[in-house]
């Protein structure tokens, strides 16, 4: 477990630094300011990706398309979820659902989640949005780790770490994170599907999907402090309901190889 924690810290360093520097630079360009955070997070993710041992310069397999997907999701958020799903969904021989169905479902799923939150970014505190994205990313990383893939957990970690820039540069509602929900869900939905499609573990299928709906709780924006606390408790509850069963099927405290 100490090794896993150490690796996740190592995985986090490069994307955090690059995302923060790029976001800081883009903030100085008035024209790019509305997307500064989104582009910074994408750059952090891409930089972190190319520091991993599994990265290749020219895509060969479905996984190799993650950096390109991050770039197009950041540059053309509203039209790219279908392209991201097309390149990232694998074509395994006995995959359930079959590839074309999976591409369709993931495109609808990504659009559904990202569109609502993107539309509401003017009303949601950006720091709250990014915080919930980071919590969701961490939950996804844990589920993927429990499904026996350190590589997928690392990829989720790269995106979660990159979001640190968005947290640091969070300003007034709707400030500089236009398109961020498309980037986050475009990468994370596909990654969780890949994790589900690859796994030979006993992690329940719904554990791969449930964390992704947790940020939707932010669409409920009550004014009272008590209800705000209830809102965040609801996010945490959804994430725990996804993570705890995944932890229990293969307890990390049992013997490791």
């Amino acid at each position: 477990m100490a090794f896993v924690v150490g690796m996740l810290i190592k995985t986090a360093a490069v994307p955090i630094v690059v995302a923060v520097v790029v976001t800081w630079l883009l903030h100085r360009l008035e024209r790019l300011k509305p997307q500064a955070t989104t582009l910074g997070v994408a750059c952090g993710f891409i930089a972190g990706w190319f520091f991993q041992e599994f990265s290749v310069w020219f895509p060969v397999r479905y996984l190799d398309w993650f950096p390109a997907a991050a770039l197009i999701l950041a540059l053309l958020p509203k039209v790219s979820p279908i392209a991201a799903a097309w390149f990232l969904v694998p074509a395994f021989p006995k995959m359930v659902p079959p590839r074309l169905w999976a591409v369709g479902l993931l495109t609808v799923f990504t659009y559904g989640l990202a569109w609502f939150l993107n539309k509401a970014t003017d009303k949601i505190q950006q720091r709250a949005l990014v915080g919930v994205f980071m919590a969701t990313g961490t939950a996804c990383s844990l589920v993927l780790l429990q499904s026996f893939s350190l590589k997928f957990a690392q990829i989720a970690g790269l995106l979660t770490a990159s979001l640190t820039a968005a947290l640091l540069f969070a300003n007034k509602p709707g400030g500089n994170a236009k398109g961020l929900p498309f980037l986050f869900f475009g990468l994370m939905c596909n990654l969780m599907f890949i994790g589900y499609a690859n796994t030979s573990s006993d992690v329940p299928t719904w554990c791969f999907a449930l964390p992704l709906v947790a940020p939707l709780v932010l669409l409920w924006n009550p004014s009272s402090r008590k209800l705000q606390a209830v809102r965040y408790s609801l996010v945490v509850t959804i994430l725990m309901v996804a993570v705890i069963p995944a932890l229990l099927v293969h307890p990390p405290w049992e013997a490791e190889h």
């Binding site: 397999r61 359930v96 609502f116 026996f148 293969h250 013997a255």
Partner: protein, 198 residues
């Protein structure tokens, strides 16, 4: 707003409703009740019952983990008391090891990517010698093909083939680059043992 949330939740249910494929029970490993090998024409049938494919992975520290594959099929070409070819298909999903977590990790993307590459194949291009032979051929593993050559002890008696081979395969040449702990990495070379007619 609540209607919108309901629509998205319905989409979530659609995705979660896609159940993974039912896990199939692996066939038993070759054990004490191994039936006698059968020959088919000029070929000897390699089956899960008469063949063992085992491996041992090691770490820099010397720690090792053993495992193998339960489902093996193929043919060994026979000409008199010599073998002329070896063609084997292994179902990677039949991989086993002593630990559930290790088995799951080996099947996943960090190693064999079993869902993407469900079969591992070997097709010999030449077999040199008699008794103590050298088998050369194409190994297709993890979606990549490479030539390997290994020594084997072979005997053919009354149509039954016995083959015993021990050799090493560099997994990194087949795209399995996972190294594990930086201070105690997993060695690139994996010890392989194949026993036919055991």
């Amino acid at each position: 707003m609540s209607r919108n949330i309901l629509i998205v939740c319905a989409m979530a249910l659609l995705l979660t409703g896609c159940n993974s494929e039912e896990a199939t029970e692996p066939t038993p490993a070759a054990g004490d009740n191994t039936p006698p090998a059968t020959s088919s024409g000029s070929g000897f049938a390699v089956t899960s019952e008469n063949t063992k494919v085992l491996f041992v992975g090691t770490k820099k520290s010397g720690d090792s983990q053993a495992g193998g594959f339960k489902e093996v099929s193929g043919t060994i070409g026979v000409d008199g008391d010599k073998i002329t070819s070896v063609n084997v298909v292994i179902q990677v999903d039949s991989l086993f090891s002593g630990q559930e977590k290790l088995t799951g990790h080996l099947k996943n993307e960090d190693f064999f990517s079993v869902k993407e590459f469900p079969e591992l194949t070997f097709a010999s291009s030449k077999v040199e010698g008699s008794g103590e032979v050298t088998i050369t051929g194409e190994l297709n593993m993890h979606g990549q093909t490479g030539e390997i050559s290994f020594p084997a002890t072979v005997s053919v008696t009354d149509g039954k083939v016995k083959l015993d081979a021990k050799f090493k395969v560099d997994r990194t040449k087949f795209g399995m680059n996972y190294t594990g702990q930086p201070d105690n990495p997993i060695n690139a070379e994996v010890d392989i043992e194949i026993l036919v007619g055991a």
